[in-house]
Amino acid sequence: MSGGAFLSRIGFSVLAALLGVLFALPLIWFIFAPFNARAEMGLALPDPWTLSNFVTVFQNAFAVRALFNSLIQSVGGVILIGAAATLAAYALSRSTIPGKSAVTYVLLLFSSVVSGSAAMVPIFLIISAMGLIDTQLAVILVFAGGLLPTAMFILRDFIDGIPKSYEESAMVAGASPLQAFFDVALPVIRPGIVVIVVWAFVNIWGSFLIPFILLRSSEQMPASVAIYSFYSEAGTPIVTLLAAYALIYSLPVVLLYLFVSWRFGFRFFGGIKA
């Protein structure tokens, strides 16, 4: 490598390292505070390192309940989306219904236009009309509807890539369409479903606005709203509790991201095939 190229490589590395550090700065606090029994807003080394904050979290019924609620909402939403999107995507891919691709694009268009920010009023009114205000079900349903078009789009694309000869050969061998679907098609679609499920889970787990609008009582709040109420309520936030709680709350997302990028590479995050 020539001298000039060597220098520019060093320059790049320095710049990249600097940017990396800059990005890490706001998060450094999270490395220390959860393990610091005397944690405050400032950056301080724990002395000693302790897990007592986590114990406090698990002794706080409200906090634990909120985590549980997040889980209910995420798992419930994911089951609903997984089932509905798989069935719909399979139908769109394999059947001869006219206007299939138009339907997918129109739905995708609608789902990006009707965002949470734009539709908060009608969603509130619809859920009220259904008598579901302040229920977990409301959050599950709203998310299932909102995330479905993208999930269907991704899955349909995926299913289109599966040769029809799989199901055809199964049927020639004597399988009914439903047998062919369960024995042959579904197992092959499974990786796509896993991606959808992970993506939807992360979306619902991390969401704030929809539960914030639709839920009233503190027993129904998911962890996201709980954390928000912890630090935005009047008075000083209990930093030790917050730090540990936020870390616990972040854990599933980080683990899922690592899992997906280990298994699949980074292709589907954000709902976009990068």
Binding site: S165, E168, S169, A173, G174, D183, P187
Partner: protein, 370 residues
């Protein structure tokens, strides 16, 4: 085993006619190849036998049963797909045994039967592997095993060898030949490879644009092609087709073309009929019936040497005529011929084929009408 009959079957996709009013009768135990270029309707026809496509009109019979509206699973048939359709999440044993699983057989019974068939096809040691872990040839045999594992009336093959390399293809072809004759299976086989059709079929149905152009045993197709299309499609290198101008005098047929020296041919009733429509005929002669002759030979065609390809067992000598068209001869010579030299290719009259202006074969007197 059963017979297969097409009764005036048509299949259209929107405005495109894939199969146009086809009648076809395949006998019990026959090996029939549907041969033709892409888009000729052969695959669509096969899929209609399987039930994967429904005819727009007409009927299909398997045995004596009208299966036209029947779901594939009720037809008692087997099919080998071009991409093998092996289920990636199942190992070979489960793949092969799947048709028996669908029929409710127990695990031991169906895996035992799968092993039997796998052993015959020499993949018995691979039963625990996944399709992704075996070679292309082994995948092809697995696909075949799955077709053989349960009793069927008709066996359908959709270009099953096209994804194999040349050497494997020959092996597999020989094996299929042996298998069909041994089992007496009724087989319908789609291919665009005329050599495959010639080697495997008891009868070949040559198809073009949705219609059957000729349906006859291979040697008949080869020796007496019904049209210039068939003549050109079957045979490698294809038959040389030379446009000629016909005249008749002294009860003889005189054909003339650039560089063509041809003695008089007997006038037959077929020729007389053809000439009433047009004097523009086509003369056909297969490369293996041409030899390098001396200039001025009696029945010969002349031109300048265009290419001389020595293939090993034979040479392909191609000449270019004055009008730019080419004629190829298959000869046994190691002689080197200079590019552009005048070359005369001779033939004997018994090997001459005649086609009328529409491309249809003109039968010689005494020849069975096609």
């Amino acid at each position: 085993m059963a017979s297969v009959v097409f009764e005036n079957v048509t299949k259209t996709f929107g405005s495109f006619t894939a199969v146009a009013g086809v009648d076809l009768s395949i006998g019990d135990g026959e090996f029939v190849c549907l041969l033709g270029p892409s888009g000729c309707g052969k695959t669509t026809s096969l899929r209609m036998i399987a039930g994967l496509e429904t005819p727009s009109s007409g009927k299909i019979f398997i045995g004596d049963q009208d299966v036209t509206g029947l779901h594939p699973k009720d037809r008692q048939i087997s099919m080998v797909f071009q991409d093998y359709a092996l289920y990636p999440h199942m190992n070979l044993a489960d793949n092969i045994a799947y048709p028996l699983k669908v029929r409710g057989e127990s695990v031991e019974k169906r895996h035992g039967r799968a092993r039997e068939v796998a052993d015959v096809l020499k993949i018995g040691t691979l039963l625990n592997r996944l399709p992704s872990q075996i070679s292309g040839g082994q995948q092809q045999r697995t696909s075949l095993a799955r077709a053989l594992v349960y009793p069927s009336r008709v066996y359908l093959f959709d270009e099953p060898l096209s994804n194999l390399d040349a050497k494997l293809r020959l092996e597999a072809r020989g094996f299929l030949n042996h298998l069909q004759r041994d089992m007496g299976m009724t087989a319908v086989y789609v291919t665009h490879d005329q050599a495959e059709a010639m080697a495997l079929a008891t009868r070949i149905a040559v198809m073009d644009q949705g219609r059957i152009v000729q349906y006859a045993p291979p040697i008949e197709i080869y020796r007496r092609p019904a049209t210039t299309f068939v003549a050109n499609f079957v045979g490698n290198p294809p038959m040389n087709l030379v446009p000629v101008e016909a005249a008749h005098g002294d009860g003889q047929l005189l054909l003339s073309a650039d560089g063509l020296a041809l003695g008089g041919l007997p006038m037959s009733s077929g020729v007389a009929t053809a000439l009433q429509a047009s004097k523009a005929l086509t003369l056909g002669i297969r490369p293996e019936h041409l030899t390098v002759a001396a200039p001025g030979a009696a029945n010969a065609i002349a031109g300048k040497l265009f290419a001389n390809e020595n293939m090993g067992p034979e040479s392909l000598v191609t000449i270019e005529r004055a009008d730019g068209s080419r004629v190829t001869a298959r000869v046994f010579t190691d002689d080197h011929i200079e590019l552009g030299t005048d070359v005369t290719l001779g033939f004997s009259l018994e090997h001459v084929h005649l086609f009328d202006s529409t491309g249809a074969r003109i039968p010689a007197d005494g020849e069975m009408p096609l």
